[in-house]
C-alpha cells in the first residue's frame, strides 16, 4: 500500500453549521474517560480532547459576527505526510506515534514520562497534561468506559480519533471475515461526530472516494488550521465566510486569505 492510497482518517467540520453547543466536548469526555477538575473555570489546565473556541470578527455591532470552532487533535502528517508531525518527532521516549495505516497520532500513556516537549511542539494546544490525579465524583468511576484506559497524573493525553472504536470495528470485521476489506464509513465514527446535533462534523477516510470527507475537503471554502506551518493536519474546516477562513491562519497585512493555499496547490 503506498502512502497516497493508504487509509487516512480525517474530519471535516462545517463552521457555518456549528452552533457552539459543546455536545462534541461532552460526548468526548464521556467516551474517553477524560478527567475534569472540581472548578473548571481556569481553562489553561483543563483537559479536553476537543475544545470549542469562540472566534469573533472583532467588528462593532451591528457588524459583529461569531464563529464557533471545535478543535480536536489535528493528527498532523507533517511535511510530505511522512508522519513527522510536530509532536511525534520530538517525543524523546517514543510515547507518541504516527500510524501509517490510519494516519492517526497515538499516545502511549504508560510510556509517557511527562516531559511535555510534545506540548511545546504542538501549535494547536491539542495536548493536555494531567496536572492532578484524576478524581471521579460519587460513583462515577463505575461509569467509566472499559475500552479506554484512564490516565494517571504526570502524563500527556490527547484526542485519539476514538481509536478504540477503530479497534472494535476491526475486530468485528475480522470475526465476519472482512479483515482484508477497508472498513465501511459508518463502521468507525468518532463520538464527537456522532454527538453533533447540527451535522456539522463528518469523519471518514480522506483517501476513500466513497467517504463523504473525500469530497467535502475539496470544497473551495475548505481550509485547515495553520497550514503555513506545514503541519499537514487531517482536520479540515469549511466556512463560506472569508474572515473565518482568515482566522484559521496567520497572514501578513498585504496577503489575502486564500493566497497561500492556492500557491501551495499550484506548487504540487
Amino acid at each position: 500500500m503506498t502512502q497516497a492510497n493508504a487509509t487516512k482518517y480525517g474530519m471535516v467540520i462545517d463552521l457555518d453549521k456549528c452552533t457552539g453547543c459543546g455536545a462534541c466536548m461532552v460526548a468526548c469526555y464521556a467516551e474517553n474517560n477524560v478527567p475534569f477538575k472540581k472548578d473548571e473555570s481556569d481553562k489553561l489546565d483543563s483537559i479536553n480532547w476537543i475544545r470549542v473556541f469562540k472566534v469573533s470578527n472583532r467588528k462593532p455591532w451591528p457588524d459583529t459576527e461569531i464563529c464557533y470552532l471545535p478543535m480536536p487533535c489535528m493528527h498532523c502528517g507533517g511535511i510530505g505526510d511522512h508522519g513527522h508531525s510536530p509532536c511525534v518527532s520530538v517525543c524523546p521516549a517514543t510515547a507518541t506515534d504516527y500510524d501509517h495505516g490510519t494516519g492517526i497520532v497515538s499516545q502511549i500513556y504508560t510510556r509517557c514520562f511527562g516531559c511535555r516537549y510534545c506540548m511545546a511542539a504542538c501549535p494547536y494546544h491539542a495536548r493536555k497534561f494531567n496536572w492532578w490525579d484524576p478524581v471521579w465524583p460519587g460513583d462515577m468511576e463505575q461509569y467509566l468506559s472499559p475500552n479506554v484506559s484512564a490516565r494517571m497524573r504526570g502524563v500527556v493525553e490527547k484526542c485519539s480519533f476514538c481509536f478504540h472504536r477503530y479497534q472494535l470495528a476491526k475486530d468485528r470485521a475480522y470475526h465476519e471475515g472482512r479483515h482484508q476489506e477497508p472498513l465501511g464509513e459508518n463502521e468507525y465514527q468518532t463520538a464527537c461526530v456522532e454527538a453533533c446535533p447540527a451535522g456539522a462534523m463528518t469523519f471518514g477516510d480522506l483517501n476513500n472516494p466513497k467517504h463523504a470527507v473525500y469530497n467535502l475537503k475539496k470544497s473551495p471554502h475548505a481550509f485547515r488550521l495553520l497550514e503555513r506551518l506545514q503541519t499537514n493536519p487531517k482536520v479540515y474546516y469549511i466556512s463560506s465566510r472569508e474572515w473565518v477562513r482568515r482566522s484559521g491562519d496567520n497572514y501578513l497585512a498585504h496577503e489575502e486569505a486564500g493566497s497561500i493555499k492556492r500557491a501551495t496547490a499550484n506548487h504540487h
Binding site: 489553561l44 489546565d45 511535511i79 524523546p92 511527562g114 511545546a120 511542539a121 496536572w131 482566522s247
Partner: protein
Amino acid sequence: MKATAAPLIPPGVKRCPTWQFALWIGLAAAVLAWGVYAIILVWWKGLNQTNMNDAYGFALWIWADLAVIALGGGAFFTGFLTYIIGKDKLKAIINFAVIIGFICYSSALLILAIDIGQPLRGWFIFWHANVHSMLTEVAFCLSVYFAVLTIEFIPLILENPKLKAKPFLHHLSHNMHEIMAVFAATGVFLSFFHQGSLGGVAGVLFGRPFAFREGIFIWPWTFFLFTWSAAACGPCFTILVTWLTEKITRKKLVKQDVIQLLAKISGWMLLTYIIAKTSDTLYWAMVTAPSKGFALMDFYSNNPLYGIWILIAEIVVCGYLPALILVSKRGRENASLLMLAVVLAVIGISINRWVMVLQVMAAPLFPFKEWVMYAPSWQEVATTILPIAYGIIIISLAYRYLPVFPHEKELNPAGGSGR
C-alpha cells in the same frame, strides 16, 4: 607518614575558623533546605505545585536548565583551550572551571528530575529512546558529560591532604591526572553536541514560528548558536565566579594574565557569536517568520512584557557591548569594565535562553488568541534558587579542603590577609 597525621586543609594556605565556616555553610544550607522542601512537595503532590499550565509546558525550570548548562560551558571550553589547543596558562583556572561545570550540570540533572511528570519513568528516555528527538540527544550527552565532569573532579578531591596520604588514592589521583586529557577531549566532544541539541530543542519546533529556524541537515541554526554562545559566555561566568570567590575570601586566587587570556578568548567568541546571532535574527525576521505569516513586531507587541527591548537588550546591550569591551585590550584590563562585560554576557545568554523557552510559549499562534503570561510559583522559584545555595556549598567546601587554585600560595605569601 600516617594518614591520620595529614591535615584536612591544604598546608600553606589560610582558611577561616571552623565556626565562621560552619555559619556560612549553615546559611547556604538553610536556603538549600527550602529548595529541598519544595522538591519534596513537587515529587509528592505533582506538578500542580507549579504555575505551569497547558500553554506553558516548558517554563522557569527549562529556562534554568538551559541557563545553567550554558553558564557551565566554561568547563568544556576551558578544557578545550587547555588540553586540546594547548593554552597551558589556563591550567591555573581549569580546576575551578570543572567545579563550576560540575555544579551546573548536576543542578541541571536535578531540575530535570523535578520537571518531569513521572520522575520514576525518567529512564524511559534511554530505554525507549527516539533518535529523532533533540531531547534524547540532550539526555544522552548530558548524562555522559556529567560522568566525565565527575571523573575530572575526582582527582582534585583526591588532592585533599588527608586523602592523598592514602597510597591507593594518591596513585589513583596521579594516574587519573595522566589520562585527563582524554576525558577533557571526550567532554569537549559531548559538549559540542549537547549544547547544540539544547539549541535544537527550540529550533526544530516547526509548529512554533518564534523558535523555528532553518539549518543544515537535521540541525537548525540554533544548534550552532547555542554551542557558540555557551563557549563564549561560559568562561565569562567562570571569570565572574572567580571574582566573587576572590572578593569573599579577600584573596587573589588566579593570576591576572590568566583572567585576561580567558577574557580575550571569550570576547572574540562573543563577538563572532553575536554577529552570527544578528544574521540569524535578520534572516528569521525577514524570511522565516514572514513565510509563516508573521511580521517581526507580531512577536514583540500586544503583551505586557515582551517588547522589542528584550531583543535589543540581548543582542546590543548584553551582546555587542560586552564583546567589544572584552576584545579591546584597554577594556578588559580595566577591572570595572571587565566585570561589567562578564556580567552583561552572563545576563545576555540568560535572556537568550529565556526567550527561546518562555517567549516561545507566550506568543499566540492564532490571530484569535492572546498572549499567555506566566509567573512561577514559590516552589518553582525555591527549586531554581537551590542550585545557587548548592553551588555556594560545593565551592566553599572545595576551596577550604582542596588545592583548587594552584597559584594561591604564590599569590598570597604567608597565607595572606584573607580567609
